[in-house]
Amino acid sequence: MEGEMPKVLLVDDEERFRVTTARLLGVRGFQVGTAGSGVEALEELERNPYDVVVLDVKMPGVSGIEALAEIKRRQPQVEVLILTGHASVDAAVEIMRLGGCEYLLKPCSMDELVEKIERALERKAMKEGSEEKP
């Protein structure tokens, strides 16, 4: 992965939020794909590989939590960050149970988002390293 730009899939039903966040992530050195719903996210993940998925909880149709469960079922190696409107401990527990690594409070600054994505990438690298050396 060295030298390659980490790939992030941003899933949010607010188009403007998606577009601007993707631009800013691009500036910070990430290769970004976007999806406007849980279904679109699953389709995009089938087409292209990603390292981290940033997933909004509240979306019409398939909710972020449902999408998280499905993403983890299909591609357990992908790290998933959850964007949520409020930091409910219960929601966090649900997210953890489904394999989501962390959650971010919305609205979050780009610095917070980038920090969490970088930590997710580190975790992914650690997991891959330990799988290679059983």
């Binding site: 607010e14 601007t20 527990v93 953890m96 979050c108 600054s109 780009m110 975790r123």
Partner: protein
Amino acid sequence: MLKSTIELARYGIPWLGPAMAFLGGLALLAEGKGQWPAIAVIFGSVLSAGGIYSLLRSLRKGEKERALLDVRMLQSHKLASLGELTAGIAHEINNPLAIIGREAEWLEHLLSTMPPAEGVPRKELLESVREVGVQVNRCREITQNLLSFARKMEPIFQKVDVNRLVEDMVKLVETETQGKGIEIVRDYQQPMEPIMTDPPGLRQVMLNLLNNARQAIEGRGQITIRTRALEDGRVQIAVEDTGCGIPREHLPRIFDPFFTTKAHGKGTGLGLSICHGIVDRLGGRIWVRSEPGLGSTFVVELPATPKRAS
């Protein structure tokens, strides 16, 4: 119906005797049987009147209590609706707020990377757009406070597997301690009978205690989480850290609101006070043992069934 019958029996039985004496005396008096029936009538009537008075008072008191309960129920329903409404509004505001914040960051990026142009007050524009970001953060704090208020509901008691709940929270905090030299040791008593408690409340307590333990450790250290069931069904959960410990003079104040020894901006001083409030509402107690330089142990003790839920 059954309740009313029981109530009537409870208040009725004490004056049943005097009433019988009164009626019996009256019957004997009617037959003209002298002085003793007359005394029985007087004695019985005084006690019966007292009994009737006390019954009426009790019933009225019961009614008053019921009315008070209705008001409290109404108040709690009102608060619940207000909470739901507040949470809904705060949640909806967070989305446009996120967009405003993001657009401001994008503008800031564009402004700071564009070449200087004549007539464009770049410094002022940058200042202005940064202020938008500052105000977005301020709004975020407000919406988060509203959401916290919405969550300050009365506890809803249900059967809880303490070990599982504790483990969920330990896992959550473990993501923060990974690779930072903090070892987490689990010492759960198995098996453990479920207790009646409020899961969101207990989760909040555990999260606060575990985060405090994490923050108390500078460099390498260990957090041990113990669960124990006592003979009478009470459960103890202990969070022990090998961190900096609490100075003796601070110990009496650590559960006070706004008391903090953390650096400015690092802690609100509300975490332990919130824990104390929640544990109290759950019918339990919380205490701490601490040795400066060696670490602290916070113990939460909860009843198997809180009195108010039984």
